[in-house]
Symmetry: C2
């Protein structure tokens, strides 16, 4: 990517400095000057503002050659917290992170299921209060709450139009309903986008990389980070990997398209296939009344352990995903792909193997490789990323979410 | 897209002002202040610099209510020229544009064919000199020359690694060879990317749009413009639409992938199919010794005029392209797609019809529409865009090409 010119006044400079302190801190002002290419007065100005905003703190000194000791700067980890809520049909995950993106608390709750929004939101607000008390997180330190769920969404920040896996949640004014219940600023975003941002941050990926996170839950999504910011497109509905056609002769998808990756390869589809194989279902004790996640977990474990039919079904899914990731890599000219989401928690090795093989056919493979890795915490990745989203606007203005806090 | 904050020092502010003058000029400083949201001193500063750089000129006055008349500003159209060279197997197009992107000269030359690079470059340099003399373009006014051709390319600005349609041109240090022959700064870029930038400029697309240009020559490419700049990815090989798999069971592609859009739907493939249909080939007088472009032109005209088999072949190609454009729209969350390239010069209406139909299945269709239009000059689109590329770096620093001029 073209390296943008940094000026002290541009939001990018502040973001750059925060990123450097986060990845290389404790660090001195002199080192920041060298690393950023900004002038000394510019660095002083930005650092003073960040100290005032309590985004960073002074953290000791180091001796300097022939002068006064240099004061070191570090991220102020506990000054602010971000809270992420991943809203799913089968489970809801709450995560709180410090300013550095470190997870300080986590809780898994029952999913939304067929319940009506009002009751779910009230229940969640109750859980949140208990969660924050238990983790000793003062309300005043919470920068905001990000609620993440599958798309598509409308750019209007208040409404989710169609989350096909949450049938009762269409046309709900989600942001204001959560703000009213939580008494905190709330933003609503796509779960795969949040996971992408979280992975980008926690892995310390270069802001000059073209980076993607492929998120496999019961469905399949993705997020792309380019030039250090989420690629959002027109309406924050970019990178919908689950809804690209991978088989022209494939079945119709709920999204209105045909042969989408989701209807070919999503865990919910593969689990349905496995349940239909009576011998396999009996051998593995798959249960029609269990959740997709539970059955997928059993099927994934059997696949990893070499049960032939389970391995064939999971590998078939992984190959379809790999083909779609190759399309993503060719269109975004990717340096790096991370596979994440609960869907790869157990069978991740199979998915990594197939996606790596596909990258051998990437259009620009002679220009640069495309690295393929597995998330360190695939299950909580979207909730952690959501918490990061709430902090990003504060830490790096200009690179924040398109769906901004309106404030309570 | 999130609207970035503008500050007088950021390259984005200069670009914003130039864009406004280009699209709305002649325009006064007061109007610029209102339209940009920048302060009056900031606008004064930027305008003074642009006048000094001869990017803009003063262009008369308008009366003002109760004060001295307002001086108007306009783009200095003839101060600088950009020259674009589209290098193709079958034809080479030269275009010169003024600062406003207006075409001031154009010439079509025989293609590269099977000739060796050295001879072609010498011949081209000769043609360029005659071209500039005839068009009365002083050498000193030429900002630079952009040579555009199909990918993939290496980020190293001097070398094209594989232009599969130009077999003798692999591992040629293209930029320095052209600079040595032309005695002007040269940049090398992808033809579809250049077309995308040219269409973005000439159509006055909002810099907050997610915009793509799909380019059909004898092959198929694309370029994406987001936040007012070409989306380049890791190595300027982004948006390679011709090399995404559209049929998993499809034939192998020269790129190393299988079932690529190019091997299913590119004009060179459809022409080969038409030549194999002996009745059709005889009726339309298709000629095996003619170029792909010539045969495709005949086939396209027959399709538009309703010849059933020709219409079926072209429509089949257009449907495959439409499916791939839907993938592009879903991944980049596009507002607008323009179809361009010589391949749609005659049968454009068929391609527009099929792509528009596909947009009815776009994932975010309830959030926003995706407009589909045809280029005003599909045949010269890449060469015009190339000329625009040479000027962009000057007019809007920070949004210029990744492959920058090194200077002669």
């Amino acid at each position: 990517m073209a390296r943008p010119q940094a000026t002290p006044e541009s939001p990018g400079s502040r973001a750059l400095v925060v990123d450097l302190i986060r990845s290389a801190g404790p660090i001195s002002r002199v080192e920041l000057t060298t690393a950023t290419g900004l002038t000394q007065p510019a660095i002083s100005l930005i650092v003073r503002k960040l100290l005032d905003d309590e985004v960073i703190v002074e953290a000791g000194t180091v001796p300097s050659t022939g002068g006064k000791p240099r004061r070191l700067l570090d991220i102020n980890r506990r000054a602010r917290h971000g809270v992420g809520i991943q809203l799913g049909f089968e489970s809801v995950t709450l995560v709180a992170t410090d300013t550095n993106g470190g997870v300080v608390a986590r809780e898994r709750l029952p999913g939304v299921g067929d319940d009506e929004p009002a009751g779910v939101i009230e229940r969640l607000a109750e859980s949140m209060r208990a969660f924050m008390t238990a983790a000793d997180i003062p309300t005043a330190s919470v920068q905001g709450v990000a609620v993440v769920l599958p798309g598509p969404m409308r750019p209007d920040p208040d409404t989710v139009i169609e989350a096909p896996t949450l049938p009762h949640w269409r046309e709900v004014a989600l942001r204001s309903a959560f703000e009213a219940a939580l008494h905190m600023p709330v933003l609503v975003d796509n779960d795969a986008s949040a996971a992408a941002l979280g992975e980008f941050w926690s892995r310390g990926v270069s802001r000059y990389s073209s980076f993607a996170c492929v998120y496999i839950g019961s469905g399949i999504g993705a997020g792309v980070v380019a030039d250090g910011a989420l690629f959002r497109g027109s309406s924050s509905n970019a990178a919908e990997l689950g809804h690209i056609t991978v088989d022209l002769a494939g079945p119709a998808c709920f999204c209105g398209n045909v042969g989408c990756l989701e209807v070919i390869a999503a865990p919910r589809v593969v689990v349905a296939k496995a349940l239909a194989e009576q011998n396999l279902a009996r051998t593995l004790e798959l249960d029609e009344r269990a959740t997709v996640a539970q059955n997928w977990e059993v099927l994934s474990r059997a696949a990893v352990e070499g049960q032939p039919l389970a391995a064939a079904l999971v590998t078939e899914s992984a190959r379809a995903v790999a083909g779609a990731v190759l399309t993503l890599a060719n269109l975004f000219d990717l340096d790096e792909v991370v596979l994440s989401g609960p869907g790869v928690a157990t069978a991740g090795s199979i998915f990594v193997r197939e996606v790596r093989a596909a990258m051998g056919r990437a259009f620009a493979r002679n220009a640069h490789p495309t690295a393929v890795e597995l998330s360190i915490n695939p299950t909580d990745s979207a909730a952690i990323g959501a918490a990061a989203l709430t902090l990003q606007g504060q830490l790096a203005p200009g690179h924040g979410p398109a769906l901004r806090f309106a404030g309570p």
